[in-house]
Chain length 496, copies 2
């Protein structure tokens, strides 16, 4: 979920200073328009990794905009008056009126996240807290409120670097609280539970925006632009017959860097290394599938990737050392009539293996958010809701013990071109290349977007994506096998 | 929530037999139309009190309609194949295709209800199960499915009578399973958790229908009519650009009996009895409010009722024996400008008392689903969503220790007329009667509907409504005071 917020987005000072004046002017304008129309309030929820610069960004916002129309509230310790009343009372009393903006630090999400990380509540209680907050937000939105939910993200390395540089700096070390140091220890838990919270509470009426925060310019500019865009859309919508605050959520990326472009596609394996490693991993897979602990699990491997990225070859290397009775390969093409008469996920549910079995999906349910999105085979509403449906689907698999591995085989455009050409030139490969492949190639950038959205929205702790650098087929095949084996071993280890 | 399903709805044989042929014909017609259009499936979830006749009704449905297009599934013990896969798999494999109908006995709701009643899961886990089922239903509906959720209801007395009559009848006693007798013991828990489940999972896209089931004719006819109405609306909607399956849920009442009309308004108190009882209850209230256990609670009393039902007089009797510093009365009229700039519930949240305090609302948040609904001051969507919002609001009060009592003071139309006339004739009462009161009176039947909906949807285990028979003011005042005192005592008792 945080994949594309850990790839080093940054904006240099010159670009920042060039873009800022127009952004500030535009933000002020929408702010006054909001006050003028006064038909909805704006609520901004600030959350994220400690030390990610939340305070700095909010400070900027109040400088860029008219601070008289913004109220910043923090919800740390409850006051006597608040303690004497139901917990929600403190939020109600700080709600901004129509035409105004409230920025909430330490809001309901921070409270539940802290409580979960400190084990004061369990998973089920966390889900209760999430659902209760969703009812609150749903109501606020139905009453017209425009809600922005920000997660300021740092990778573990970024966070540790930041803590260290602050600590080394005598002028700023006072900014560090014991809490910050503690978070360094609990980072993994924070991220794990935050991911769950964000996934469950990202709704079309109140979406989350995950902002990579290690670079201050990028962070501040991104938040400013998201607010501007959201406010403009809402002010526009509010003039219509029905106030329709938010546009559907789509991942935010100011385009400085792309997830797939951050891969090191130069990675390769020598033939001898390849042969040795392949043999080792194949033997390992065979042993793992025969392990008696496999009886408690099933294995599902999903293969997606660019055309000509080598899915078929990778799948063959996986099955090579196995008895054909040990696995099933489900190639996904257009749905049958019977499948069309059922909900989208039905045709995948029917192939879910029982315990002890291994199923390979050659293309999968992700078609919904890839080809169907890009070709317009389903509506935007359909593919947008598919992310959540897929997450729920995969969660129900994993909770039942299914080991789920998902591969995106990535190649660059030149490699694809060379492989297409080679296929056309080789008689027995010619069937593998069609007009459609060339047409898809023209949509390369749309696929970049779709894959980035897909990974951000469906790579979860329970069912992570593995991006496979596949310019070198050997490297890719070994990585695929090793990933499957590692996943099985981790699952077996957790059984104990 | 089950109030209007416990008042003895019944349909005599003659009426039943007169209505049935047309209903059967109409049901068959929509069924064939559904097969013809084949653009959505129908899923009927059957739940309710054991012995309420669920099986009998489903049998009737398959007789009335074409059974080849209906598949009835029960989900009791899982098969080996099902056990080897995630729990949802068994539902997916039984999903009806577009154009067909699936009737699910023992579905996800029965599973979670059983598990909760048997204490295999706790409240938080029940909420998880509910939310997970909502995501499933949301997805099914987004994919076009039309979902009906039925709760076949019996009051405890009705259930016990039914069990007894079955047991006494040698021809039918085999129908009784040990489960039935067990439910007699667990009735209160079943109803309590069922209410919670129904409240949390009643959505506009998949509403619940609570059907009083002690009379077989009423039960079967009601279910048939609900299906007919829902199917017709969906078939109509599906012809439009966007399939819009369900109309918003409104309480189902075939009009044989009304909740408010089932009250015994003849109840009255002699003057001497009244004085004695009033003094006793007032003393009790004063003592309870000074009890040190009150420090953990707050008291909120809500007064609603027909015009001239005696709200003001009842409130005065409540406060008479108290020091003015001990309570606050919040009269609710039109909202202020400041209140209008906030979400609807804001103006009530601001008056929620801290622990130890007592607040009386003379009219309340229920204005939304009464006067605002009837006068069209808000949209239908607004007042429909208000039921859930109010339930959430009240839940957050009660969970914090607020003792919440809600009164509907009910008088009959003749009594109101007499009181209006008396007010007009008495100089110092004349200010109490306006043109508006006479206009409201013309909407008597609309208020009957609105109050019945309100009680059905917002009378919960946590915050039940008390219907007060108020033709006799003395009887009403004593009942109000006694109800408050009993509620306080129950809350204090639970603290231990």
């Amino acid at each position: 979920m945080f994949e594309s917020a850990e790839i080093g987005h940054a904006i240099d000072k010159k670009t920042y200073e060039a873009e800022l004046p127009a952004l500030r002017q535009a933000l002020l304008e929408v702010q006054y328009q909001l006050r003028e129309q006064a038909n909805f309030p704006v609520i901004i929820l600030i959350n994220g990794i400690e030390g990610a610069g939340k305070g700095d960004t909010v400070k900027r916002l109040t400088e860029w905009m008219d601070p008289r129309l913004i109220q910043v509230s923090t919800f740390d310790l409850q006051t006597d008056e608040e303690l004497a009343r139901p917990p929600a009372w403190r939020y109600w009393r700080q709600l901004p009126a129509k035409g105004r903006t409230g920025i909430f630090f330490g809001n309901w999400y921070s409270q539940m996240l802290q409580a979960r990380v400190k084990d004061k509540i369990d998973d089920a209680q966390l889900d209760q807290a999430i659902e209760s907050s969703q009812r609150l937000e749903r109501m606020l939105c139905d009453e017209g409120a425009l809600i922005f939910k920000f997660w300021f993200h740092l990778s573990r390395e970024q966070m540790e670097a930041r803590l260290k540089s602050l600590a080394d700096d005598p002028l700023h070390s006072w900014k560090l609280s014991p809490l910050d140091w503690q978070q360094s220890k609990t980072y993994d838990q924070v991220v794990q539970h935050a991911e769950h919270i964000i996934r469950r509470s990202s709704r079309d009426y109140a979406p989350w925006y995950v902002v990579e925060s290690s670079d201050r310019n990028y962070r501040n500019l991104t938040v400013g632009k998201i607010l501007l865009q959201g406010l403009r859309a809402a002010l526009e919508g509010a003039r219509g017959p029905q106030p329709a605050p938010h546009a559907a959520p789509v991942a935010v990326n100011l385009g400085t860097r792309r997830l797939l472009e951050s891969l090191d596609l130069g990675q390769a394996l020598e033939k001898a290394d390849y042969k040795a490693q392949l043999a080792r991993e194949q033997a390992r897979l065979s042993a793992l599938l025969h392990d008696k602990r496999m009886r408690r699990h099933a294995l599902v491997a999903v293969f997606e990737g660019n055309d000509a990225a080598g899915k078929g070859g990778a799948i063959r290397r996986v099955t090579e050392a196995l008895d054909p009775r040990e696995y099933r390969i489900i190639p996904i093409a257009a749905p049958s009539d019977e499948e069309r008469a059922q909900p989208y996920l039905w045709r995948f549910w029917r192939h879910i293996p029982p315990r002890g079995q291994f199923t390979i999906f050659d293309r999968s349910w992700y078609g919904r958010v890839l080809v169907e999105r890009i070709e317009g085979f389903c509506s935007q509403a359909d593919w947008l809701r598919a992310y959540g449906e897929i997450n729920d689907f995969e969660e129900s698999l994993v909770e039942h013990g299914v080991v789920l591995v998902k591969f995106w085989l990535a190649i660059d455009k030149d490699t694809q071109y060379a492989r297409f050409k080679e296929r056309e030139a080789t008689p027995f490969k010619r069937f593998k290349i069609t007009e459609e492949d060339w047409r898809n190639r023209e949509k390369w950038d749309q696929y970049l977007d779709a894959v980035e959205d897909m990974v951000d929205r469906t790579s979860t702790g329970l069912a992570p994506w593995t991006l496979v650098e596949a310019n070198d087929k050997r490297f890719a095949r070994v990585k695929v096998l090793r990933t499957i084996n590692d996943a099985l071993e981790r699952a077996f280890a957790r059984d104990r």
